[in-house]
Amino acid sequence: MKVRRFYDIFRLRLRSLLGKTAVESELDRELRFHFDQLVQENIARGMPPTEARHAAMRMIGGLAQIQEECRDMRRTNQLETIWNDLKYAVRILSRTPGFTAVIVLTLALSIGANSAIFSVIEGVLLRPLPFAHPERIVRIFLTSDTYPKFPLNPNDFRDFRSRNRTFDSLAAITRQDVQLSGAGEPVMLRAFEVTAGYFRVLGFTPARGREFTTTDELPEHGRLAILSDRFWHARFAADRNIVGRSITLNAVPFTVVGVMPPGVQHPGNDYHAVPDGDTVDVWYPFTFEGSPNNRGSHFMDGIGRLKPGVTPEQGNADLSGVLNQLGNEHPGDKGWHIYLVPLFREMVGRTQRMLFVLLGAVGLLLLIACVNAANLLLARSSVRQREIAVRSALGASRTRIVRQLLTESLLIALAGAALGTLLALGGVRALVFLLPPGFPRAAEIHLNLVVFGFTLLIALLTGLLFGLVPALAAARTDIQQSLREGGRASTGSQRQVRVRDVLVVGETGLACVLLIAAGLMLHSFVNLLRADPGFRPQQVLTASISLPRQQYHDGPQRSRFYAQLIDSVASLPGVRSAGMGTDLPWTGYDENTGFDVEGRSAAANDNNSARYHAASPDYFHALGVTLLHGRFFTASDDAKATKVLIVNEAMARRYWPGADAVGKRITFEDHPKEKDWVRVVGVLGDVKDQADSAAGHPAFWWPLAQAPFPDVSVAIRAQGDPVLLTDQLRTAVKRLDPGLAVADVRLMKQIADASVATQRFSLFLVGLFAALALVLATIGMYGVISYSVSQRMHEFGMRMALGAKPGDLMRLILGQGVKRALAGAAIGLLCAAALARLLGNLLYGVSGADPVTFFAVAVLAIATAAIACYLPARRAAGADPMHSLRTE
């Protein structure tokens, strides 16, 4: 009933507004009927017709007044006022199309930028994660004094799973890509070994078949696979009978037991990270093998679903209790603590700062656009003073005038929002394209109703914000004075001039804040690019190869393959050097081991740890890593030769401080025999983990021939364009083993670029916004100065007549602009100094109060102010004084 009533009311209001003529004529007919009845009644009483009519007219009183009151009751008038205001606003605004276009465009740019950035925030931070009850999912890590965030040991995990009391389900995963062979080219698949219950943790159930059970975790049971929907479509043409079929992974038959539904998202992982989203092809069961007492190797990403009502802190305490028990049972578990992170924070937490910095930047831009619009409207309202004076002289109340002017500004803002939304449509697509690789939830970013709502809201807010000051100022106009000034362009009141000065100073200040943010980021970026990465990424082609264990089960076999491949690639024309190693710089590789340094006490050796790698002799040449002491590996450092290794400077400095590490020995055995000692033969310059890492991590390399890992990366330094070698590399691999896939073919330059992508991305956007801000501030400055010049032409003419030179006038006007710019810059620099620490880790090698940036921005602000003043100044200086004096 209520709904019905509101529908009725809405329909009637709409009718009052749109069907005005119909409503009016109905009112007419209704009252006429009444009048006729009255006349008839009078006639029935015996009056002659004419008199009856007159009497009726007298009785009915002011017909027009009744009609007007009925209209009031219908709210027609109120609606009509709004309608008229709108029509009037459109007419006024279209009378000055250039002016309107400038405001609408600047607003559209900044509102569009806000919508675009907000849609990223909405998709990444505001929307719930694509899992059932995501707030109950947590990631589980270990932490210790040396390793803040460390993966789990599988046997520990099994104990966590059986002994915890706070989790609905607990799972662990580890990335282990597999090679699919059979029909067509062999391909590397993104694959994860997962424990039973993994999909239950995430809240997914297979669309076909079943999930893994704990039985599948037993050795010899685990040759099973679950396919992702995407991969099932792409490779098996959505074969409905796939469950139960056998596929060949790593040259071994696996039985497909399930297919996941579309939309299954990977929650992201740390160990051999894969971006989140629909990025995994195949899952297969993790197999618990070997001694359950092995607690030393850590390589599993833990994830769990808390029982309803359990907080992450309670889960943390629960697992910590289990870990304490384990510490008593297994010495290897001592020294570790549980580190539970809510999945949301783990997945998107690291983007928060950058996104909020961008939102802040774009918000500032909007504020500047607002101030700019207010400034332009104010300038125009002084031109419109006469019109407004006439209207108020004719009886328009102040509220009425403010309402009219606000309608105009809201209309401008809404037009800006509409155009801005169009810009945002393209902008969001560009943003997603530019996002740093591996940005979480990138696929979920698009414009939607929430974003449209946000856009509408900020449009209304900006409309009010930039409209209110000019509207109030205009309504305060002194009618008498304005009218008396007649046809002459009225001088804006002193107060208006002051308001406009404040606005332009504020605008410059805000623009300076943005410019400084951009400047600091630019300076950081330059530092990043200048920082020596420790290797030379130019002209290097990289790829990865994985030798199936079943085919290449022993070390010599793998070594032979590697040697052959390197030989054939190195002999290709255009190849300067070719090498292989366990990994490439800046790819997140992080495998560590303990060891004993010869000559140190057992206690001193207890906490030794370094990152281990293996590399072929030319690997370092190919990547351009520098040798500080000793030698690189040679072909003679093979399985039969004495064991050697190369360490990096960080490791040399930590374990042999003040001494030459070359010739020193370490061992990986608890009770080493003479042959178990490994000799350091060379010291390398450090390669940092990431472009912005503070220092290198201690690391060493075994010769690949002495430690032939099955998964390797290839690095080839080319003479010319490295891309041209791609096909030749593939051919070389195919000739040796047609069943092998060459995966991740990338240029080292791309990897290096990707590692500064976040900084580049935020620099690009903040720089763009700062540039826009500068343009807006310049427009504002130009508007103010040019207006003040046109107001003072008379004065300037007088000055010229009294002997002032054009140069004096130029200086006078430029001085005006520069004075305002200086005030704005001073305010801006102060604000920026206070805000700079918010940029946090987006800065590298630059303090928040970087003098270079601050100085440059101040100069830039003053220079643009001077440019903005130049045209008006020249106009003033070039004017004929007689003419100026006469026109006044």
Binding site: M1, R5, F6, F33, L38
Partner: protein, 114 residues
């Protein structure tokens, strides 16, 4: 929203609602009926009646439609909506309360004076 009426504010609404609660009526008939039933005591002027009708319609208590009168003329007939019926009950109850209260005060006064 000024209203020229000798009736207490809101009373006219009550009278109109009550009058059309029996059968749909046009404005003229409503005014006549109120006049007749009240023995010519209550005179509803057109200047008050039509704005009130339009207001009640705008508020969704009554609905208007064009019909032909017995005399064969087009007239705008007002009828009750469901929401209007509830509103009428509310206003009646309120009126009862008010008139009772006024009545009590008036009856009490002479005693107090004596």
């Amino acid at each position: 929203m000024s209203k020229r009426s000798d009736l207490i504010q809101g009373t006219l609404d009550l009278l109109i609602l009550n009058t059309i609660s029996l059968a749909p009526q046009h404005g003229w008939a409503i005014a006549k009926r109120i006049q007749q039933v009240s023995n010519e005591v209550l005179q509803v002027s057109q200047g008050a009646l039509y704005p009130a009708l339009h207001r009640l319609e705008q508020q969704g208590w009554i609905r208007a439609e064009w019909r032909v009168t017995e005399a064969g003329r087009d007239a705008k007939f007002y009828s009750m909506t469901k929401a209007g019926r509830t509103q009428l009950q509310k206003e009646l109850a309120q009126w009862e309360r008010l008139s009772n209260a006024v009545g009590q005060v008036i009856r009490m006064l002479p005693e107090a004076a004596s």
